[in-house]
C-alpha cells in the first residue's frame, strides 16, 4: 500500500502552482463553474486555454500523435486537482472537446475526423470548442428517449428536432450530438447515432436559458432542416448508444480530483475565515459548533480524495471504472451540498450577497457554490441515476425502475 504520488507528479504540481501564481494575477473563481456565461470571463478562459495548450497540459492525457503528452493517469489526476485548486479557467474549453470528444474520436472516429478535429481541440483555440447535445425536453435521465430525427438524403443527413440544456452551445464551434436515425426500432437504445454538427450550419437556432442565479450556462437548441454531411457520422449508424456509453465513461473519471481541488481550497478559506473572524469577542474558530461542522467537511474531503485516488489507480491498472465513477459523482454532489451549506452558515448573512456587490465574503466563492451545486448535481446524471448504477452494477441488486 502506498498513497503518495511520484516525483514527476509533485514537480508537475509545483509547476502548476507557479503558473497559476503568474497567470491568474489574483483572479478567484471556482474552476469550470460558469466561465462561459459572460464575454469577459470567456475571453480570459480562452486565453488560458491557449497557454495551457502551449504548456502541453490542456490535452496531456492524449497520445503524443494527437497533440498530447501521453501523461499517466497519475499526472492527469494531479493536474485536475491542482488546476482546480487554483481555479484556472479554460482547462475544459466548454467541457466536451477535452472531456470526451477527442478521446471518443480516437476510439471510433474516422481518420478524416481525427485529422480535422483533434488538433483543433489540442490547440486551445476557439475553433476547438465543442458542446454536447444529448438531452431533449422528454429525454433527460431517460436519454435513450431522444426524438431529434436525422434522415439520410444523398450524402447528407437532414436533422429536425429540439435539444435542450446544451451547455456552452453559445460558445461552441462544433456540437457532439446524439440523434435518432431509426425510429422503427422496438428498443429505444437502438436507432441512435452520433454526429458532428457544425454550429454555423443554417437551421440551427440557439436560445439562452439563464439559470436561477442569472448565469448563462445552458441553451435551448432548435434544428430546422439542418444539413449534416454523412461523413460527420461518428462510428456506426444506429450504434450511437454504445459509442455514447463509452464516451460517458471518459466524462466521469476526472470529476473527483477536480472537485476535490476546488473543495480543498474552499475548505482552507473557511478555516482561515473562522480563525480571523471574531464574533462576540471570540473567534469563530473557538466556537465548538463551527469547529465540528468544519471537521465534518474535512472527513468528507478526505473520503473524496481517496475515492479519486482509487479510480486513478484502477485506471492505471487498465480497469474501466463503472460503479466507481457513479459513486464519485454522487459523493461529489453530496459533499458539494454540505460544503456550500456549511460555508453559508459560517459567513452568515453575507451569503446572500452577490459577488458583484461591495461586500462579498471569501470572494463570493461560497455563494457561487451554493447557487450552483443543485445544477451541478443534476448535470451529467442526477444522484438518483448514479445510485441506480451503483445498486445495479456493484451491489447486484435488481433494477428498481
Amino acid at each position: 500500500m502506498d498513497f503518495k504520488f511520484g516525483e514527476k507528479e509533485e514537480r508537475l504540481r509545483e509547476e502548476i502552482r507557479q503558473f497559476a501564481g503568474v497567470e491568474l494575477a489574483g483572479r478567484n473563481t471556482i474552476a469550470g463553474m460558469e466561465e462561459e456565461s459572460n464575454d469577459e470571463d470567456w475571453e480570459f478562459a480562452m486565453s488560458m486555454s491557449r497557454k495551457l495548450a502551449r504548456k502541453g497540459w490542456l490535452t496531456m492525457a492524449w497520445p503524443k500523435e494527437y497533440g498530447g503528452q501521453g501523461a499517466s493517469y497519475f499526472e492527469q489526476h494531479v493536474y485536475a486537482d491542482e488546476a482546480s485548486y487554483w481555479g484556472i479557467p479554460g482547462t475544459s474549453m466548454g467541457v466536451s472537446g477535452i472531456g470526451w470528444v477527442g478521446l471518443s474520436l480516437m476510439l471510433f472516429g474516422s481518420d478524416e475526423q481525427k485529422k480535422k478535429y483533434i488538433p483543433l481541440i489540442a490547440s486551445g483555440d476557439p475553433d476547438g470548442v465543442w458542446c454536447t447535445a444529448y438531452s431533449e425536453p422528454n429525454a433527460g435521465s431517460d436519454f435513450a428517449n431522444i426524438q431529434t430525427r436525422a434522415v439520410k438524403s444523398g450524402d447528407e443527413y437532414i436533422l429536425n428536432g429540439q435539444k435542450i440544456w446544451t451547455s456552452c452551445a453559445h460558445r461552441a464551434r462544433w456540437c457532439w450530438m446524439a440523434v435518432r436515425t431509426d425510429a422503427s426500432v422496438k428498443k429505444k437504445q437502438h436507432g441512435i447515432s452520433l454526429m458532428i454538427v457544425d454550429m454555423k450550419s443554417p437551421g440551427i437556432i440557439i436560445k439562452p436559458i439563464l439559470n436561477y442565479a442569472g448565469v448563462h450556462i445552458f441553451n435551448e437548441f432548435f434544428l430546422d432542416n439542418v444539413r449534416v454531411p454523412v461523413t460527420n457520422l461518428v462510428g456506426t449508424e444506429n450504434r450511437g448508444w454504445y459509442h455514447l456509453m463509452q464516451s460517458l465513461a471518459f466524462e466521469r473519471h476526472s470529476m473527483a480530483p477536480q472537485f476535490f481541488g476546488s473543495a480543498r481550497r474552499i475548505l482552507e478559506f473557511i478555516v482561515k475565515y473562522a480563525r480571523e473572524t471574531t464574533y462576540n469577542g471570540k473567534t469563530l474558530a473557538s466556537d465548538p459548533i463551527v469547529r465540528n461542522k468544519i471537521a465534518e467537511r474535512a472527513i468528507e474531503l478526505d473520503t473524496l480524495k481517496l475515492f479519486g485516488y482509487e479510480i486513478t489507480w484502477k485506471m492505471s491498472r487498465g480497469v474501466i471504472p463503472v460503479y466507481e465513477a457513479a459513486r464519485n459523482k454522487a459523493y461529489c454532489d453530496f459533499f458539494m451540498q454540505r460544503l456550500a451549506t456549511t460555508g453559508t452558515e459560517i459567513i452568515g448573512a453575507y451569503s446572500q450577497i452577490d459577488r458583484a456587490s461591495r461586500w462579498p465574503r471569501i470572494m463570493g466563492l461560497i455563494t457561487r457554490l451554493y447557487m450552483m451545486f443543485p445544477g451541478l448535481s443534476i448535470a451529467a446524471g442526477t444522484d438518483e441515476i448514479q445510485k441506480n448504477i451503483i445498486g445495479q452494477f456493484k451491489l447486484g441488486l435488481p433494477r428498481a425502475y
Binding site: A213, T344, G348, I353, I378, E384
Partner: protein, 377 residues
C-alpha cells in the same frame, strides 16, 4: 383544542391567495427583484385598501383590530406567493413595536399613516457581523443636552432605500456596561447624515447598508424608554420571528405543491417520476417537515396571543423553518431536474430567498442556543 382556521381567517386566506395570484405573478416577482425600488407602489396601495397594512392595528388608527394569528395567516399566503415589498419590514418589524411601545402621539402619528399605505418603515438593527444579539450593537446615540446624536453603520436593513422612517436600535449605555443600554429611535430616512446604499443580494430584496453620521433626533423620538431598548428588541425578535416563520412556512408549502405536481406529470422511463419510490419518499419527507413547521408556527403564534412566554417555541419554529425551507428548495430543484435550475421556473424565486430567510432574525445556531438555554441547559 382546535386546529381549524376561523371563518374570518379562511376568508382572509382565500382573498389573499386570489389577490396575490392576480397582482403578483412570478414574472412580476422577477421584475421587482431587478428593479430599483424592489416594490410596486400600486400594489402597496391596494394592500392598504384591502386593510392588510393595518390588519392588526386598533380601529382608531385605521386598523381592523385583528390578532396575530390572522396576520400569521396573511403572512403565510404572502410567503406562499412570494410578495416582494416592504410589508414585513413595515408591519412586522416596525408597526408592531410602535403598537406595543409607542406613546399615544407616536401611535396616532405613525400607525394611521402606515395603515393608509402612506409610509414605509424599516428596522435598522444588524451591523457588520450580521447578528441579532444585543451585544452586537455598537451604533451609538449620545445625548448632547438637546438631541441624541446617532453614529454608526447598519447592515441588511430591508427596503431602506424606499423607507420613510427607520427604527434604529442604538447603544446608549456604553457607560452602564454590559448590554443593558439599548434604545430604539424613530429616525426619518431623509434626516441629515443618513446615507443609504443598496446591497445586491440574490433575492433582489432591497436590503441596504445604512450609515448614520451625527444624525440628530429629539428625545420625543425615542420608542419606549431610554435604555429600555432590550425589551423592544426582545419583542421584535418574538413577533417578527413568528411572522417570518409564517412567511417561510407558506413558501415551503408552495415548493412542495409545485414539486409534487411535477412529480405526477413528468414522465421518464415511461412512467411518472412520482411513481419511483425514491422520489415518493423524498416528497413524503418534505411533506412531513412542512406540516410540522406549519403547526409549530401556529403554536408559537397562539402562545403569543395568550400572553404566555413563548421564547423557546418561537426559536423552535425558526430553527425548524431554516432547515425545512432549505431542504425543501434543494430537494425541490433536484426532483425537477434541470428545469428547476432555471430563471424562468418559479422554484428559483424560492431558492434565491433561502439565505435571506435563514439569516433574518437569527440563524439556526442562535435559535438552537436559545432553545437549549430555555431547557435549562
Amino acid at each position: 383544542m382546535d386546529f381549524e382556521l376561523s371563518e374570518q381567517q379562511n376568508m382572509l386566506k382565500t382573498m389573499a391567495r386570489d389577490f396575490l395570484s392576480v397582482e403578483c405573478n412570478k414574472v412580476k416577482v422577477r421584475d421587482l427583484e431587478e428593479s430599483d425600488t424592489n416594490y410596486d407602489p400600486k400594489m402597496w396601495s391596494k394592500m392598504a385598501e384591502l386593510g392588510w397594512l393595518g390588519l392588526i392595528f386598533p380601529e382608531q388608527y385605521g386598523g381592523t383590530g385583528a390578532d396575530l394569528l390572522d396576520l400569521v395567516i396573511l403572512m403565510e399566503e404572502m410567503g406562499r406567493n412570494i410578495t416582494p415589498g416592504p410589508f414585513f419590514a413595515t408591519v412586522a418589524l416596525c408597526a408592531i413595536p410602535i403598537m406595543k411601545f409607542g406613546n399615544k402621539r407616536q401611535q396616532a402619528n405613525y400607525l394611521t399613516s402606515i395603515a393608509e399605505g402612506k409610509s414605509i418603515w424599516s428596522l435598522a438593527i444588524e451591523e457588520r457581523h450580521g447578528g441579532y444579539e444585543a451585544s452586537h450593537i455598537n451604533c451609538s446615540a449620545d445625548y448632547d443636552g438637546k438631541h441624541f446624536v446617532i453614529n454608526g453603520e447598519k447592515m441588511f436593513v430591508p427596503y431602506a432605500h424606499i423607507a420613510d422612517y427607520f427604527l434604529v436600535v442604538c447603544n446608549t449605555g456604553k457607560d452602564a456596561g454590559g448590554d443593558g443600554g439599548l434604545t430604539t429611535f424613530i429616525v426619518k430616512a431623509k434626516s441629515r447624515g443618513v446615507k443609504i446604499e443598496k446591497i445586491s443580494t440574490f433575492a433582489g430584496d432591497g436590503q441596504c447598508r445604512v450609515r448614520f453620521r451625527n444624525v440628530k433626533v429629539s428625545r420625543s423620538d425615542v420608542l419606549g424608554r431610554i435604555n429600555s431598548g432590550r425589551k423592544v428588541l426582545d419583542m421584535i425578535m418574538q413577533w417578527g420571528t413568528v411572522l417570518k416563520c409564517a412567511e417561510v412556512s407558506g413558501a415551503c408549502q408552495a415548493v412542495l405543491e409545485m414539486t409534487n405536481n411535477y412529480a405526477k406529470e413528468r414522465i421518464q422511463f415511461d412512467k411518472p417520476i412520482g411513481s419511483l419510490m425514491v422520489i415518493q419518499h423524498q416528497l413524503v419527507d418534505m411533506f412531513t417537515d412542512i406540516e410540522g413547521l406549519q403547526y409549530l408556527v401556529y403554536y408559537a403564534a397562539w402562545l403569543l396571543t395568550q400572553g404566555v412566554k413563548a421564547d423557546v417555541q418561537i426559536s423552535i419554529a425558526k430553527a425548524k423553518a431554516n432547515k425545512v425551507y432549505q431542504r425543501a428548495c434543494i430537494d425541490g430543484v433536484k426532483i425537477h431536474g434541470a428545469i428547476g435550475f432555471t430563471m424562468d421556473h418559479d422554484l428559483g424565486c424560492y431558492f434565491r430567498r433561502i439565505k435571506t430567510a435563514e439569516f433574518m432574525l437569527g440563524d439556526t445556531s442562535l435559535h438552537l442556543e436559545k432553545i437549549a438555554s430555555g431547557l435549562g441547559l
